[in-house]
Amino acid sequence: MCLGVPGKVLAIDGLSATVDFFGVRKELRLDIVDEPVAVGDYVLNHVGFAIRRIPPEEVQETLALFDQILEITGAKEDLMALDVRGEIASGKDEA
C-alpha cells in the first residue's frame, strides 16, 4: 500500500492523468499533488493519486533505481519487485 512508484505523465484530462509505469498505463488522480503537473512530468503514485511531482533532476536516478531492482533480482523471489509490479498492475482489472 505504501510503495511510492514513479511514472511518466502521458496525458491530462482535468484532475485525471494517464501515467505510464514501465509500460503499464494507469489513470491517476491529481487532487492531491501540490504543484502543476504537465505532460512529460514524473509523479510519485500512492494508491492511485499523484502525491508528488518529482523534480526532473531526480528522475533519472529514481528510474535507474527501479530498473535495477526489477532487472537484477529476476523478480521471482523478490517481494519488493513483486509488490511494485503488483501495485502497478492491480488497478487494471478490479471489479
Binding site: 500500500m1 511510492g4 488522480r29 510519485l44 518529482i54 492491480s90
Partner: protein, 379 residues
C-alpha cells in the same frame, strides 16, 4: 530457510564504496558513544529495503534498528475488521485495499466473509471504490479505508469531491506521529532516536516532528528508501544522538519539504479528526485514529448503519491467537524469531498475527527474506 544474501553483492548497484564508508563512519560514531544504541523506524517500506538489501549486516554490533508500528494493516485492530466483516455479512458491498483481505478479525477476515458468500471487492484506490458505487447505484458500497495519513489524504480527496450517495467510508485510518509518542513514552522500550518515513512526510512536512523531538528529547531523521538513503539517515541519527541534539533532520530533501503539502493537510483535517483508538497489539493511542468528522456523518459507515459485530466474533479464536507477539514486535520488544508461532504455524498463507499478513509487516518481511535478516547473528 534460505542462505543469507551476500550484502556486498546486493549493494553492487548502490555504490558499495559509499555504503562501506557510511558503515565505517557508523561504527566509529557508535563506538564513540560507548553504549548500545537502539533506533526505530516506523515504515514498512523502510523495513523492506533494510531486509532486502541486508543493511543490518552493515551496522556495528552496538547499533540496533527496530521496525516500530509502521504497517497500517498490522495495527488495524481486530474489532475494526469485525465491523467490516459484519457489514459485508449484513449485505453491504465492502471494498478495500488488497492487503486488508486476509487480516484476521477476532474470528474472521474479509476473505473468510467472501468465501461464505459476502460481496467483498479489492480496489487499488479509493477513487475506484467511488466508481464502483457509481456503477452500482442499487448497492450500498462501503470502503474500508485503511492506511496512514498519506493514504487518508486520498480518502479525503474523494470525500470532498462529491462521492455517490451509496458510498460510505469505514475509516480505520491511523496517524503515525501519535504512535511515535506511545513508543517514546513506553517505559519498556528504550529508543534513542527515530527514522521517519519519507512518504508520510511528503504530506505532513518534516516540521511535524519538531514538537515531538523537543518534548521527548529524541532526534528524528526523515529518510528516503534507497539503501544509501537509509544508511545515511541512520548515520545522521547516530550523530545527533552522540551530540545530544534532539532535533529533526531531513535526509530526503528531494521529496520532503519543511511544510509538506499544505492543501493536502487542509483536506485531511477537513474530513478527519484525530480520536483515541486501540492499535492492534500496542495500546490505546491518543489521537491515533482518524475518524470522519460529524459534518460528514452521511459518509460515515458507522453512523449510517447499525453494525452488529456479535455474530462474527469467536471467543475461542481469540484465545488461539493469545501467544502471538505482534504487539511486542511492533514496540521493538521482541523480534519475529522470538515468537513461538513465527514460521509455524504462522506463515503468510495462514497468518495468525497481523504482522504476517501485509507485505509491510515485520514478520512477513522477515519470513520472505529468509527468517533472520540480521546477518551478524549468522556470522
Amino acid at each position: 530457510m534460505t542462505t543469507p544474501r551476500d550484502p556486498t553483492l546486493e549493494l553492487k548497484f548502490r555504490d558499495p564504496a559509499r555504503a562501506r564508508a557510511l558503515a565505517g563512519a557508523l561504527a566509529q560514531r557508535v563506538a564513540a558513544i560507548g553504549r548500545p544504541i537502539q533506533v526505530m523506524h516506523v515504515c514498512g517500506s523502510h523495513e523492506q529495503a533494510i531486509a532486502r538489501f541486508g543493511l543490518r549486516a552493515l551496522f556495528p554490533p552496538g547499533l540496533t534498528l527496530i521496525m516500530g508500528p509502521g504497517c497500517p494493516v498490522c495495527v488495524t485492530d481486530a474489532p475494526e475488521v469485525d465491523e467490516a466483516v459484519a457489514l459485508a455479512r449484513q449485505g453491504a458491498r465492502v471494498c478495500t485495499y488488497g492487503d486488508m483481505l486476509r487480516l484476521p478479525g477476532t474470528a474472521l477476515s474479509l476473505a473468510d466473509a467472501a468465501a461464505s458468500g459476502a460481496r467483498v471487492d479489492v480496489v487499488y484506490s479509493v477513487s475506484h471504490a467511488a466508481e464502483l458505487a457509481r456503477r452500482h447505484p442499487e448497492e450500498e458500497v462501503v470502503f474500508l479505508a485503511s492506511g496512514f495519513e498519506t493514504t487518508a489524504v486520498a480518502t479525503a480527496a474523494v470525500a470532498l469531491a462529491g462521492p455517490p450517495k451509496n458510498l460510505s467510508i469505514l475509516s480505520v485510518h491511523k496517524y503515525v506521529p501519535a504512535a511515535m509518542e506511545v513508543v517514546a513514552a513506553s517505559p519498556a522500550t528504550r529508543i534513542d532516536g527515530f527514522v521517519a518515513a519519507g512518504h508520510a512526510a511528503i504530506i505532513t512536512g518534516w516540521e511535524i516532528f519538531e514538537p515531538f523531538a523537543a518534548r521527548t528529547g529524541r532526534p528524528v531523521v526523515v529518510a528516503g528508501f534507497e539503501p544509501l538513503d537509509i544508511l545515511a539517515a541512520v548515520l545522521k541519527l547516530v550523530e545527533l544522538i552522540e551530540a545530544g541534539d534532539a532535533s529533526v533532520f531531513n535526509a530526503y530533501p528531494r521529496c520532503v519539504s519543511k511544510e509538506g503539502n499544505r492543501p493536502a493537510q487542509g483536506s485531511l483535517w477537513k474530513v478527519f479528526e484525530p480520536r483515541d483508538g486501540v492499535w492492534r497489539g500496542i495500546a490505546t493511542v491518543k489521537g491515533g485514529n482518524l475518524e470522519l468528522r460529524a459534518e460528514l456523518a452521511h459518509l460515515d459507515a458507522r453512523r449510517r448503519f447499525r453494525i452488529d459485530t456479535a455474530p462474527v466474533r469467536d471467543a475461542a479464536a481469540e484465545v488461539r491467537s493469545e501467544r502471538c507477539r505482534c504487539g511486542e514486535i511492533m514496540l521493538g520488544l521482541a523480534t519475529p524469531a522470538e515468537c513461538p508461532l513465527y514460521g509455524s504455524p504462522c506463515v503468510p498463507e495462514a497468518p495468525v498475527g497481523a504482522c504476517m499478513v501485509s507485505s509491510e509487516g515485520t514478520c512477513r518481511i522477515w519470513h520472505t527474506y529468509g527468517g533472520v535478516p540480521d546477518l551478524r547473528e549468522n556470522a
